[in-house]
Amino acid sequence: MELKPDDLRLAYRHMRMIRLFEEKLSDLVQAGKLGGFLHLYAGEEAVAVGVCSQLQETDVVTSTHRGHGHCIAKGVEVPGMMAELFGRATGTCKGKGGSMHIADMDKGMLGANGIVGAGIPLATGAALTAKLKRTGNVAVAFFGDGASNQGQFHESLNMAANWQLPVVYVVENNGFGEFTPTEFVVPVRDIAERARSYAMRSEIADGMDFFDVAEKASKAIAAARAGEGPTLLECKTYRFMGHFVGDPLPYRHKEEAEDWIQNRDPLQGFERTVAERGLLSAGELRVIDGDVERELAAAVAAAEEAPLPSIDELLTDVYVETA
């Protein structure tokens, strides 16, 4: 895996954007400006960005209810996302989808998904397309530890292993499914272990470390692209905020949360590593921070000004109208 300075700048940009985007949404909901069910990705930035930094634009990813990070990492434009969350006609999905359904097929983003586990077979299908049409593309399914208990996980990984599909299954193990600790409901320590049921390769990455994720993703993606079949890549991570915006977090140990947030922040970790290795300067990062902040503010302002969808839109896009 080779990461050029431009790649690193882009990765940092994406991670910073995700963090600020989520913090902004939290504020907007609390200010009563946004509705719907919002699940924020803050804390898990290194996973989405680490993996997507190794993908091409035509590669396809599927996502979850906690999808903003995957969208941003895969290159979906922030103004469209913000407008979508405001339910505007200019949104990525014309305001019809909202947070749990942001998608952008042109960027290879096959949708956030409100159904836990449902993105897994979709990515498997995208990989089947890649294989049968010999496009050279790879598919990536992002999903949570909780989703690894879904039947769709089992059925999909098994199919992909049988058919040696070019797909990477990225399980974001953040220690909780909603409020239930993972150890209540997953009897193995490492979800990566589940790959053995399918004679599938697996790998465990530090999901708070962009470099570790990127490196392991890079290997898995290269193997997939080379026709060597799927990998289950477990990234150990943590969500810094509640399960949804408004979650009072009574079920979580404060010390545990503080430890992750204070000591393992993926943005701080990135900054430390690039400094140590002399890859990017703090000044460069601060410039990016400023750019991201301005961009985001502009996106919010634009979204607030943007037109609402016309009522006529209610009944369009249900079916493809074949001429």
Binding site: G35, H101, Q150, E178, F184, P250, Y251, H253, L314
Partner: protein
């Protein structure tokens, strides 16, 4: 009646407490029905379900409130097996939209075991689930899929419109020896109203006239009862007297109550927040034109959601849902 007011959510919580107190075989299982915080000697607290509806139950009945993995097929399938062997499980399906992840254990197991086994099994299972739009939860968290469970022989489906019915219907559901789907419409869940104290049941298959009238019958249930009542109010101001019938139970269906109000008014408008094809609205209309034809003076109109997924944007979601305006417009079409 009582002066005590509770939300539907609180009434449900109360019914669960009563059911568990009165019958040691009643258990609760589902994703986050406890919601963390059940660890021994822990300093953390439980959430009591994603909407807080089951708060406190795990503390009262620590061995009988089970947080499950996110495995709907496993949850419902396990609950069916437990019900057939001596427990009386109340399983939570967090949102009714997730029916697609656990239909088989309902369709092919719970609903059919008794029949297939020649009457030798009983499946006293209750599935609590949240249905309906109105919270901008978008296409996969806003559906009203009770028409599916209603159409499956062997299942019962009920849906309250107010806290008192919610409590009584849930107690009936849990004590019924058949599998029952208990729907909790989102926009009703936090509506508050008087709720009797203590243990009581609301029987299935009994609709309730919630407003008397003589010119037209508005048939509603769950979230649309409020819509129908608003419409009736405004129609009254214009000189049209609307009767409002709250079905409460979709299977069994109170056909007699439907035909009685039809005979009284000669006109029926059905208000349903689900999509139009093959829904409860069609089913009730079909009953009217089959059994009530001689009393029908006008077409039967259906006010439902359109044949499309639930949109996210508030303007679109508002347009999607049945409203008093649309009910009034439907009534206007009759004359």
């Amino acid at each position: 009646m009582t002066d005590r007011k509770l939300s539907v959510a609180a009434a449900i919580n109360e019914a669960l407490h009563i059911a568990m107190q009165t019958d040691p075989d009643v258990i609760l299982l589902g994703e986050d029905v406890a919601g963390g915080g059940a660890r021994d000697g822990d300093d953390v607290d439980e959430m009591g379900g994603v909407l807080g509806v089951t708060k406190g139950l795990v503390k009262a009945f620590p061995d009988r409130v089970l947080d499950t993995p996110i495995s709907e097929m496993g949850i419902i399938g396990t609950a069916v097996g437990a019900a057939a062997t001596g427990l009386r499980p109340v399983a939570e399906l967090m949102f009714m939209d997730f029916l697609g992840t656990c239909l088989d254990p309902l369709l092919n197991q719970a609903a059919k075991l008794r029949y297939m086994f020649g009457g030798k099994a009983r499946v006293p299972l209750t599935v609590r689930t949240v249905s309906g739009a109105g919270m901008q939860a978008a296409a996969q968290h806003s559906q009203s899929l009770y028409w599916i469970t209603t159409g499956i022989p062997g299942l019962k489906t009920v849906i309250p419109s107010n806290p008192a019915d919610a409590k009584g219907l849930l107690l009936s559901a849990i004590r019924d020896d058949n599998p029952v789907i208990f729907c909790e419409p989102k926009t009703v869940l936090y509506a508050s109203g008087p709720v009797p104290e203590g243990d009581y049941e609301v029987p299935f298959g009994k609709a309730k006239i919630v407003r008397e009238g003589s010119d037209v019958s508005l048939i509603a249930f769950g979230a649309t009862v409020r819509v129908a009542l608003q419409a009736a109010e405004r129609l009254a101001a214009d000189g049209t007297s609307a009767e409002v019938l709250d079905l409460r139970s979709l299977q069994p269906l109170d056909e007699e109550a439907i035909l009685t109000t039809l005979a009284k008014t000669g006109s029926v408008v059905i208000v349903d927040e689900a999509t139009p094809r093959c829904g409860i609205a069609s089913d009730v209309a079909a009953l009217c034109v089959d059994q009530g034809f001689d009393h029908l003076n006008t077409p039967v109109k259906r006010v439902t959601a359109p044949h499309c997924p639930v949109p996210f944007a508030k303007v679109l979601e508002d347009a999607y849902m049945p409203s008093a305006e649309r009910v009034i417009a439907a009534v206007a079409e009759l004359s």
